[in-house]
Every structure is written in C-alpha cells, then in structure tokens.
Subunit: 254 residues, 2 copies
DNA sequence: CGTAGTGTTGAATTGAATCAAGTGTCGTGG
DNA sequence: CCACGACACTTGATTCAATTCAACACTACG
C-alpha cells in the first residue's frame, strides 16, 4: 500500500480558519471547527462536554489504511475530522463496489449497528484523522441526553435519505447526470466545511468513482472530458474546477 | 390516482371479530402474530405494553390509498400489519421512481426523521393495515426504555444496510441478476411472516418493479419469461412460483 | 531511469431501452 | 350477465448508451 502524503487540501486556494490543526488529536469537540456540522449539532455546552468524554481521538490514518474491514466486529462509529474515506464491499467475483465517500464532519460505520458486524470495509483516501465513538457508550449517553438520542436518530435518518437519493440516481440517471450529481454533491460538502465549492481535489480514483456510480472508469473519464469540452468544468488530473454551476445543475433538471 | 388521505387519529369503533385478524384494529402488540419480527423484538412484556399505549391502529387502507405523500409533514413512522406498500418519488420530469416495497412487520417512514418532512410518497399496493407510531412519543419512550432505543437504532441500521445492498445491486448487476435478487428477497420476506417462500403474489406492477430495479417494464417482463423458459420459476400473471431456488441463487453467485 | 499505477482515447460490441403492435385481465355499468 | 374500456402485460424489431477490448500517455516514486 502507498505511503503517507501531505494532504492537498492544506495547500488549497481556500485556507481553513485559524483553528486547531485538523490532525491534532488533542482537539475537543467544543473547540473543534467542525462542531457545527458534526455529531454535536443541537447539543448544548454541557452535553458536548459529556460527549467529548467518550470520544477517542486516535492516531491519524495514512492513505490506504483501513479504519475497519468487512466482517470486523462492530464497536464504534467514527466522525471524520480531516481527510476523506471510501467504504466498499468485495463481491463474489472479487470485484469491489464503492458504497460511499466520507468527508469531514460526516459519520462512518453505521452499517454495523444492526448486525454488530461491519458490512463494508472503510479506507482512508488520504492522510486522515477520525474521532472514534464507542457505540455502547454512545447508546448509554443517548439514554441520558434526549438531545443526543434525537441527534443520532436524525443522523441515521439522513443517511437513509441519502441512500434513497443514490437509489434513484442509479436507477434512472445517465452517465452524465450521475457525474454531474456527484460533482455537485462533493461541491456542497466541501462548502459545508469551509472549502471552495468550485475548486477541489478528487482524492478517489476514476475507478472508485465508477464503482460508486455504477459506471466503468473509462466512462467516468470520457464524461469528464465531455463536460470539459462543454466548458462546464476543468479537469486537470485529480483537480476539478466547476466553471458553470447553473449549467451543471441543469443537467439534472429536465 | 387521487385517493383520500387517511385520517390520522381515526379510532374507528368498528365491530370486528374477537379473533386477532390481520386487519383488526384492536389487536395489541402482545397478541400480534408479528410481534417477533416487528418493532417489539427484544422488548420484555412490560415494555411491550408501554409501546402498545402509544401506537395508533388506524382503519385499513384500500389499494392505491396513500399513507403519506412527499413533502407531508413527518409525524409518525408506521409498522405494516397486513398487506404491502410501495414508496416512490416523482422526478423533475414527472416520472416516478420506486424506492422501496414494504411487507408485514417492516417499518415505513424513516425518510422523514432527519428533515421532518417526508421525502417520498407511500401507497398501499393492496388492502392493507398499519400501526402508526407517533415519532415524538417514540423518542420519549425510547428515552425511558433503553431496549427500545437500542431496537430502533438497530431498525434504522438495518435500513441503511439494505439500502447499501441495493446500491451495489444497481451499480453492478445485470437485469437477470436484479430480478433474481428481487425474487429471492421477496421470498425470504414472505417466509419471515409464515407465508410460502416459493409461491406468492406480486402485488406491484411490472412497471413498479422496473422503477425499483432501474429497468424498464419490458425488460422485467422479458426476464421473467426467460427465467420461466429456463424452468427456474413459473410466472402466471401476478403469481410467482420459484421452482429452482439453488439455481436462482446461483445467478447471483458468479 | 524504469516500473506500476492511473488516466485518456478510439473502435467494436452488447445489454437494455425504445418504439411498436398486439393480447390478456379486471372492474364497471348497462 | 355480458360488453366495454382502461390498464397491465408480452413479444418483436430497432436503436443507442455504456461496456469491453485495446493501445498508449502521464505521474509518482523507489
């Protein structure tokens, strides 16, 4: 597997707030720059402090390292603090299928809640760090804090909604619509964590994208080229610039 | 299809048989024949009694009636007591896309938890009855009963896993694999509620199935015919008989 | 510098969609 | 009870979007 690399986002045109370093394991939820888009939303200060106590801030993962693997025992859910991840399953034929990409502030690992085993594997796409939340403790604390229970129901509900949107995307969109939707989704998620919504790095390969969207890597490449020719985006290797957001949205529209 | 909405409180004082009939609104969770595959799993007797108190058993829905519609305010989740439902969204072009089918013992409506608005519409596919569970009360009770909280986390986690499985199905299976997987899923769900796993009725149309699996209704029809010619199934209108379960499973295998 | 992984592009192929024509089924009202 | 109309379904012919197969270019890195 590949070695660690300095994450590209750090040198992006759109610098982060001057807040504690994203990889710093000693950041607390209260001081975390993601606190208003992560688990703590809608919790008050004392509740956040209690949540903070059960969270384990592990060492960062290097690119290619696994957070957990398919069939591992489920112990925790994870919040992405920095970097990005992909989740995937290995099919009977050995082919992998990507089930999701995760960015800062998003929650990973809910696939294991029901069965107590992880149904997917999850791997860092770049140098990344996470907050680990032992699920038994989260359940216990949720029982004491109605707001936290409510918040976690909402997080899971949100995951269900997103999965249904992917369902309709995969069952009726063309290749071009899928890629447009994918780029717009990344864009709004980058915006959510204060990064540029129209210039960003794809940390996943064309093949990852294809496995996620139900396309081949060749088709992903071709559609990127076509969108570039139409001047809706600029693609330079892994770097994407969205040049015409309205027209990109219009691809989904009619 | 413009049916009347179901009145939410509807305490129909309807004279019914004393024996717990699937449509009988007076059945309690404790006496319900679905209690070991529905929400109450893993709850003890006194917990079930408390759950019972917040559940509203509405009048049955006729075929084509809506349980709720896209953009309706979210108030409750629902457990299917008898019959079956489909959920669907209307796309920008007016086309509908089916996001799920629901059978007895399954929970409907979790798409509204995060946003407090329903993201899909849900319609009865046949004469059906449901238990309505007002969500605010479910949250309150979950806060008192750790087992119920845990159970509901598990139900939502299960929904997430199923959605991920659909994701991989839609992104990599052929038409034949999708239909085989669909029939096997129905089969095991019928088995779960004590019905024959190899002879059952499809209450949805070919078009519904196609919209769910990302295929046209013509392709659904053709694949059914092809599977019949191979003697894996018999299709007579809406009636399906699975004649060779192992071979049907093998279609997914490699 | 060479190698492995990643990405692009072209040509041929194909699985499913689309277009089209017809049959079957069901519920309704006469 | 039957006739009618609407909807659901089947099957065939053709088209097309995406895959597959193939060759090559770029980049990163030991």
């Amino acid at each position: 597997m590949n070695e660690a690399r300095v994450p590209n986002l750090a040198s992006s045109a759109n610098p982060m707030r001057a807040r504690p370093c994203p990889h710093n394991p000693s950041v607390s939820c209260s001081s975390c720059r993601l606190s208003d888009l992560c688990l703590p939303i809608s919790l008050n200060k004392s509740e956040i402090v209690q949540l903070d106590e059960i969270i384990e801030r592990n060492r960062p993962l290097r690119k290619g390292e696994h957070l957990y693997r398919q069939n591992d025992e489920f112990r925790s859910v994870f919040a992405v603090r920095s970097g990005s991840f992909k989740s995937y399953v290995l099919g009977a034929d050995g082919q992998s299928r990507v089930t999701g990409f995760y960015m800062p502030g998003e929650i990973i690992g809910m696939d294991g809640i029901a069965t107590r085993k992880h149904g997917v594997s999850t791997m860092a796409l770049e140098h990344s760090s996470i907050c680990e939340i032992p699920f038994s403790q989260l359940e216990k604390l949720s029982h004491q804090l109605p707001n936290l229970q409510s918040r976690f129901f909402a997080i899971m509900g949100n995951e269900i909604v997103k999965d249904q949107q992917i369902h309709t995307l995969l069952s009726s969109y063309t290749a071009e619509q899928r890629l447009a939707s994918f780029l717009l989704s990344l864009s709004s998620r980058y915006a959510r964590c204060q990064l540029s919504p129209d210039r960003f790095i794809l940390h996943m390969t064309r093949s990852d994208i294809g496995e996620y969207l139900g396309l081949t890597l060749e088709t992903v490449s071709r559609v990127f080229s076509a969108l570039q020719k139409k001047e809706l985006i600029t693609v330079k290797n892994r770097e994407i610039e969205i040049r015409d957001m309205p027209k990109l949205r219009a691809i989904l529209g009619e």
